[in-house]
């Protein structure tokens, strides 16, 4: 569709609120790409909900002009699950960071992948807790010594979100870089369109607490191969890459989404009560 013919523009999905993020934060790009993707999809703002937990990237809902829900730390996925199951007509998007999603919210991440409710989870991974001023997150390298909390490094291997997501049943897996907003928008469009639980990992540098991540822009490369629908091949690819293959969908599954039906049988409370009647 030509941009001129579109019903909505990216800015129609942005609120007037100025983000609290640091200048140069990768999350600005995600906000831009997300709003661009919504414009591309032509979704009426009131038909979209963005749900988040706590952290820098979890601030996104208020920066959009769609319906937003900013909940507690780690629980964005269950809120979104309840919302989407209760309101299947809405397009539900979850945004958050690596700490929110993979540490405090880790169990929900597993089960959201497994449950495969039709929604899109965009994780801005910067391998650090930014809002609390720079602690190691589940995706931080074991030898990172930049935190006062773990001055000798964590000594623990990082969590592999895409491998775990695949193993848990995510129906769509992609990795993108905040250095390429146009590509990111396109991948988000695909993720939203794909039925079931879509997981998009964004390499989104934290310029304040991980200034060395500025190099990511030069390290990332466009993945050489297109997506597979073979989970075993996807697993091998994900387990052998270095985390910097970006820009393409890695896996698309065909599993039908979990969608319990609300049947229209109003008026039978009397029937339920009759069972108690003597």
């Amino acid at each position: 569709m030509e941009a001129a013919a579109r019903k909505y523009k990216a800015k129609d999905y942005k609120s007037e609120l100025k983000p609290i993020w640091c200048p140069g934060c990768g999350d600005y790009t995600v906000l831009n790409a997300l709003t661009r993707a919504l414009a591309e999809l032509g979704l009426p703002p009131e038909q979209v909900a963005v749900v988040s937990g706590i952290g820098c990237s979890s601030r996104i809902p208020a920066y959009t002009s769609v319906y937003g829900f900013h909940g507690v730390h780690g629980r964005a996925l269950p809120v979104a699950t309840g919302l989407k199951l209760a309101r299947p007509d809405l397009t539900v998007i979850v945004t958050g960071g690596d700490g929110d999603g993979f540490s405090i919210g880790g169990n929900h991440f597993l089960h959201a992948c497994r449950r495969n409710v039709d929604m899109t989870y965009i994780v801005m991974d910067n391998q650090v807790y930014g809002m609390t001023k720079g602690q190691a997150s589940p995706t931080t390298a074991p030898d990172w010594e930049g935190s006062k909390l773990t001055p000798e490094g964590t000594g623990i291997n990082p969590f592999q979100p895409l491998v775990v997501g695949l193993a848990s049943g995510a129906n769509f897996i992609a990795r993108v870089s905040s250095s390429d907003p146009v590509n990111m928008a396109q991948i988000i469009v695909e993720a939203i369109r794909h039925p079931g639980f879509s997981l998009v990992q964004v390499l989104s540098p934290c310029v304040t607490f991980r200034p060395e991540q500025a190099e990511w822009r030069d390290i990332v490369r466009t993945a050489l191969v297109d997506y597979t629908d073979d989970a075993a091949r996807a697993a091998r690819r994900l387990m052998t890459d270095d985390g910097f293959n970006v820009g393409k969908v890695l896996y698309k599954g065909e599993r039908p989404p979990f969608r319990p039906e609300f049947e229209n049988t109003d008026g039978s409370i009397a029937e339920l009560e009759a069972k108690f009647s003597l």
């Binding site: 319906y67 780690g74 629980r75 309840g82 089960h111």
Partner: protein
């Protein structure tokens, strides 16, 4: 007139068999036109193991167990001493055991009950496919005056699928039990009821809670299993589907509460049920529902705490966490069911309160009510249906204020899908638009409105059940809540029958507190007895903090799982000289 009733226990090691036998007896009592209450107590085994079904029958509605049991029918003695404290037996009581399993344990004999033998195993052995349980039921029926045809109908209904031979075998064993009972000492018999005067229901507290949820308008339930709340959810799963609702099993309680917050934000009234450990996990998100102003209902079917505590037994000790557990100043609603039947009323009311005030509402039930089955007069139809004030359309030239500061404190809520009213609901403190704010003035204004919507709401007479002795309230009151209301009610009745004057105040609306209504209820009262089942007297302390109590106020409290019998409360009333 004091209740004419008969109380008995069926105990044995075949857990399911004992509870099933109790259920059959309850159903038969229903056929006989009686009212009944059946509680169960189980050991820690997952399946089988020892169990006891405690039953009380009467020719009029009852809400409490008696102080002691007329009859203990022991199918065997396996681990029965684990229940001995829950089965008070006195000089008039009768223990009936099977000689095949030896003598009654000494622990049961402290109250000097009578003893008799019934060769259940031997008698059952003479009947093809005869079962000792049915022999026991026959003997019980003969002892308490239950007409055999009342049981016949129950057995036919329950064993229809197993065929006529199974029905015949069961009834043969039942009649053999009746015959054998001729040799047993007598216990009180109930009169037969010729014409039942009103429609009756057979329902458990947990089922009544589930029905209240549906009647109130809830159509989304998230579930994580936990004893003793699971039956609420298991009843709701198929029942919700019949009325256009959905139940989803969540990965944990953190997920279940956040799922219902999401569903309710989406405009569908939502609830979950749990017990103490699950409530503990949900507390942070209950605060989220307060701040984001999302109506939800959380039912806590209380069990003995702290920690895993005694998972299968009852206690009223989650009052503190329900009222004070949330961090920050977090105005929310706490209500308490006070009988099996009232689980329906209170839960339905809770949905109404949550939806009307856009605030989380905790319903406190407990194992004693939740897992009890009762034959009760059919509950009244109630008009409460959750009515959420919604914003329907954008006003030209005005930006929608999700958290508008209104006189009532309730701000019309825009449901996702409504054009022109998009906003972000937030657990962060915010201004009236929902925009995050760390300003003192916004915090003050939002705190005021969240508090105001609860304090200004008209709760009507439902805040408490208030009942007086026939001669009037006099100068004495029993103040209680939850399942302690049953025995307190019966104590008041016995006191009244003996010419005593007193008032019962059973508080249904635990929070927000109602000082003016309580002051009116305590007008003329100079002595108050506070009755509750908690080790530290949580309810008494709460009353002390928020209400002007009579100078002479006594606290009668004890830890679970032992419940108060009416007699213990009555004793306090009778011996309390003005």
């Amino acid at each position: 007139m004091t209740v004419q009733s008969v109380s008995l226990v069926i105990a044995g090691s075949g857990g399911a068999g004992v509870v099933t036998a109790g259920s059959l007896l309850l159903d038969a009592a229903a056929n006989a036109g009686w009212y009944a209450l059946m509680s169960r107590s189980s050991g820690p085994q997952i399946r089988g193991g020892e169990a006891a079904a405690m039953l009380r029958f009467a020719t009029e509605p009852i809400m409490s167990h008696d102080d002691s049991f007329h009859l203990l029918m022991a199918v065997d003695w396996e681990n029965i001493t684990r229940f001995s404290a829950e089965i008070p037996l006195v000089a008039g009581s009768l223990i009936v055991g099977d000689p095949a399993h030896g003598d009654a344990p000494v622990a049961l004999l402290g109250g000097k009950p009578r003893q008799a033998a019934l060769a259940m195993t031997e008698i059952a052995g003479k009947i093809e496919n005869g079962r000792p349980n049915m022999v026991a039921l026959g003997a019980i029926a003969a002892l308490i005056g239950l007409p055999p045809q009342a049981m016949q109908a129950v057995v036919e209904k329950n064993l229809r699928r197993k065929g006529q031979a199974a029905i015949d075998a069961s009834m043969a064993a039942f009649h053999a039990g009746i015959a054998a009972a001729a040799d047993l000492p007598a216990i009180p018999k109930l009169p037969a009821v010729t014409a039942v005067s009103e429609p009756r229901w057979s329902i458990t507290g947990n089922e009544a809670t589930g029905l209240g949820v549906i009647r109130g308008g809830v159509r989304f339930v998230a579930a994580y299993p936990i004893t003793p709340a699971t039956e609420v959810l298991e009843w709701l799963a198929p029942s919700l589907a019949k009325v256009g609702g959905v139940l989803v099993q969540a990965e944990d309680e953190l997920a279940s509460i956040n799922q219902i917050i999401g569903a309710s934000y989406g405009g569908v009234p939502a609830m979950t049920a749990t017990s103490g450990p699950g409530l503990s996990l949900m507390i942070e998100s209950l605060g989220l529902a307060v701040a984001a102003e999302v109506p939800i209902v959380v039912v806590d079917v209380m069990r003995v705490g702290p920690s895993t505590g005694i998972a299968t037994k009852s206690e009223q000790s989650d009052l503190n966490i329900a009222v004070y557990g949330l961090h920050g100043d977090a105005p929310h609603i706490v209500v308490a069911s006070n009988s099996v039947a009232d689980c329906l009323f209170t839960t339905q009311w809770a949905v109404h309160l949550a939806e009307s005030m856009q605030a989380p509402t905790i319903v406190l039930s407990d194992q004693a009510m939740g897992q009890a089955r009762a034959i009760i007069p059919r509950p009244a139809e109630l008009a409460f249906i959750g009515q959420r004030e919604t914003a329907k359309a954008a006003v030209e030239g005005e930006r929608y204020q999700r958290y508008a500061v209104t006189a009532s404190g309730v701000s019309p809520m825009a449901i996702p899908g409504t054009a022109g009213l998009t906003h972000t609901a937030d657990g962060l403190e915010h201004n009236e638009f929902g925009t995050p704010s760390s300003q003192a003035s916004d915090h003050q204004a939002q705190m005021d409105k969240r508090s105001r919507k609860l304090t200004q709401f008209n709760y009507g007479d439902h805040w408490a059940d208030i009942e007086d002795a026939e001669g009037g309230a006099g100068d004495m009151a029993i103040i209680t809540w939850g399942s302690s209301t049953g025995p307190a009610r019966e104590a008041l009745r016995r006191f009244s029958d003996a010419g005593g004057k007193a008032r019962l105040i059973s508080v249904r609306l635990i929070a927000p507190v109602q000082p003016e209504r309580m002051a009116a209820a305590l007008h003329g009262i100079t002595r108050a007895l506070v009755v509750e089942q908690s080790h530290s007297g949580q309810f008494h302390r709460m009353l002390r903090a928020f209400y002007d109590l009579p100078r002479e106020t006594r606290s009668l409290h004890q830890a679970g799982p032992l419940a108060f019998g009416p007699g213990r409360i009555l004793e306090q009333l009778k011996t309390w000289r003005a």
